[in-house]
Amino acid sequence: MRKGLFLVVVTLVVGFIFSPCTWGAPKTIKIGINAPITGDIPKVGEGTKYAAQMWLEDIKAAGGLDVGGTKYPVEIVIEDNEAKAESAVTTNLKMITEDEVLVIVGPQSSKQAVPAGDVAENYGTPMISPWSTNPDTTKDRPFVFRGCFLDPFQGPVLANFIKEEFGFTKAAVLYDVASDYPKGLAEYFKEAWEKINGKGSVVAFESFTTKDADFSSQLSKIIRSGAEVLFTPQYYNEVALIVQQAHELGWSNPIVGSDSWGSAETVELCGKNCYGLFFSTHYAAAGAKGKTQEFIERYEKKYGYVPDDVAALTWDSLGIVQAAIQSTGSLTGNIEKDRQSVRDAMAGVKEYEGITGKMTFTEEGDPIKCAVIVRISEKGEFEFYKSVCP
């Protein structure tokens, strides 16, 4: 027993003597990435992870992140939230309190971003969700930002585009009722469309459930309703099935989509069926110029496929984070103070030139950015068609 006590005393003494020795040297800047690596949407997690790793490579190549003349080494902490809400909350908290990250990028889908944003807010840690479109994510949360535009903007953009381009008066919508992004967008589109064309001009408003593969019943209904255009704000895997099945059921009118179409896999999975269709997105991969093109080429070379919107938005979010950290001028080493100053710098970001467009944050932490209408060409490339700014 004596030995035990002795040991404890020795530990205490030595510990107190040595503890200040670890201070000094520039502290590593840690960036937390909260991504769904496993679970329902592993593809989203993979895009996030790859974009983050590419960003880290750049920083490492530069010898660290330059803040006010000091080069800080950077580390990214990637955590898997298993596409579960509770898991996203625990990972966020773990990164904030255990890994002591300066900023968190993610979680991607609103299901995780809304509760995780609450944690970030409570612990005063800036968080930017690149992909979450639910207004609740950033609402009344000064520390939470997002990297993408909101549905209330995108819905009217598409409704106006269809009206101007084709002059149709009857539209149909097909969306996933169990997923908040498509549902929200479908409703905003309906609202905008009915404002333009009058009540009842959305002749079919049909839905299905996540993981469904057969949409024939809903599509038959849509075809019977006499709609002139089908709007489907779905993810690329469902897009391939919806478009194919619609054509098999004899649908020959245009199908229009939203930013969730903006993945290389859309064309890969959908093939010729998707040629000639329009969708709105953050950026157009084909015919992209400058930084955007550079990013796409690098990503494709490294991971073997053209990055989807998640990867591009994550890349931009990390860019904003980097710009914000750099514009703080200096880091104190006190993590709480630094988090506060990074948040202030982020809120003050003006006209950030990202690969998905210029970004300025509103008071809520939502970016004001332009949407791009893209046409899938006969070669299966995403061609720039026109750009719509708020």
Binding site: P42, S207, T209, S217, S220, N237, A240
Partner: protein
């Protein structure tokens, strides 16, 4: 009327998937009385194996080493994948089910669930998160029969599924092996005393069930050419519903219940607002079970968990 016929055609296609998967599920469920919760993931594995085989064969054709028309490649793919997947099924049986033969049924259900998770994660680790697109082996042709659109794929899927179901029915009813299986379903304890090896029958059951799952996976790939590692979960649970609804060990029952499930889903979405589809479809199933507490073909036995 045309609208109704169109949906009838749709429901036939969708129902035949449910029926095929439910059939594989009900093989294991009916004969060994096990909840085979890995079945949905075996279906996924089957689809991926089919994808691998088809891609490999197409590559061979394109290099000119063999010449084969696409339909032959499809037939070969189905055959090879059924064989390969049946091995997967046998391994699953050996690892997850045989050690638990005398355990409570629910424990085997848990090992099944866990094997399913391992298969999903394993796939994710091996192939990454990207979804793959099943090669288009058949050129889609759409026929317009007075307003009802039918594709050659739809016809093929329904025909192949029905043929497989018929073959299975013949196998179970006419062959010696089938007889042993039926006997096993009838009495689990006495049959081994008659010189029938329970291990062999269990292995065979799993092999056949998995082969059917593989066939369903490939047909699925042909009709809905997007595969992802988690595609089997929902199918697994729905097959569970169909297999039990159809009654224990009844090939006909599982087939009909599978079709019924497909028909309910399609027609509910046709008649009611489609947002309420799940709500109404499952309420119908619940009501069916309230009024027919033992499914369609099940005898009113007391299915106790053996504890």
């Amino acid at each position: 009327m045309i609208f109704f016929l169109q949906n009838l055609v749709n429901a036939l296609q969708w129902g035949s998937f449910y029926a095929l998967i439910a059939l594989g599920y009900s093989m294991v469920y009916g004969i060994l009385m096990l909840f085979n919760f890995a079945h949905g993931d075996i279906f996924m594995v089957g689809a991926y194996i089919g994808f691998g085989v088809a891609t490999g064969l197409l590559a061979l054709v394109s290099t000119g080493m063999i010449t084969a028309p696409n339909w032959m490649i499809l037939v070969l793919t189905i055959l090879f994948s059924m064989i390969l997947t049946s091995f997967v099924g046998m391994i699953v049986e050996r690892v997850g089910y045989r050690p638990l033969r005398d355990a409570p049924r629910a424990s085997a259900a848990i090992t099944g669930l866990m094997i399913g998770i391992i298969l999903e994660t394993g796939n994710l680790i091996l192939l990454g998160a990207r979804r793959v697109s099943f090669p288009a082996l058949i050129q889609t042709e759409t026929y317009n029969l007075g307003g009802v659109y039918i594709t050659n794929k739809k016809i093929m899927i329904v025909v192949v599924s029905l043929a497989l179901m018929l073959a299975l029915h013949q196998f179970v009813q006419r062959t010696k092996w089938g007889m042993a299986m039926r006997a096993m379903a009838y009495d689990y304890t006495v049959v081994p005393l008659m010189g029938v090896s329970i291990n062999t029958i269990a292995r065979l059951t799993f092999a056949i069930g998995s082969a059917l799952a593989a066939a369903a996976g490939i047909l699925f790939g042909v009709a809905y050419p997007v595969l992802d590692p988690y595609m089997g979960i929902v199918f697994g649970w729905k097959a569970f519903v169909a297999a039990i609804l159809g009654g224990r060990g009844s090939v006909l029952g599982a087939t009909l219940a599978g079709f019924l499930l497909g028909f309910i889903e399609i027609f509910v979405a046709m008649i009611f607002p489609s947002t309420l589809r799940d709500l109404i479809a499952y309420s119908i199933i619940l009501l069916i079970l309230v009024f027919r507490p033992h499914g369609f073909f099940g005898e009113p036995y007391s299915a106790r968990l053996r504890l």
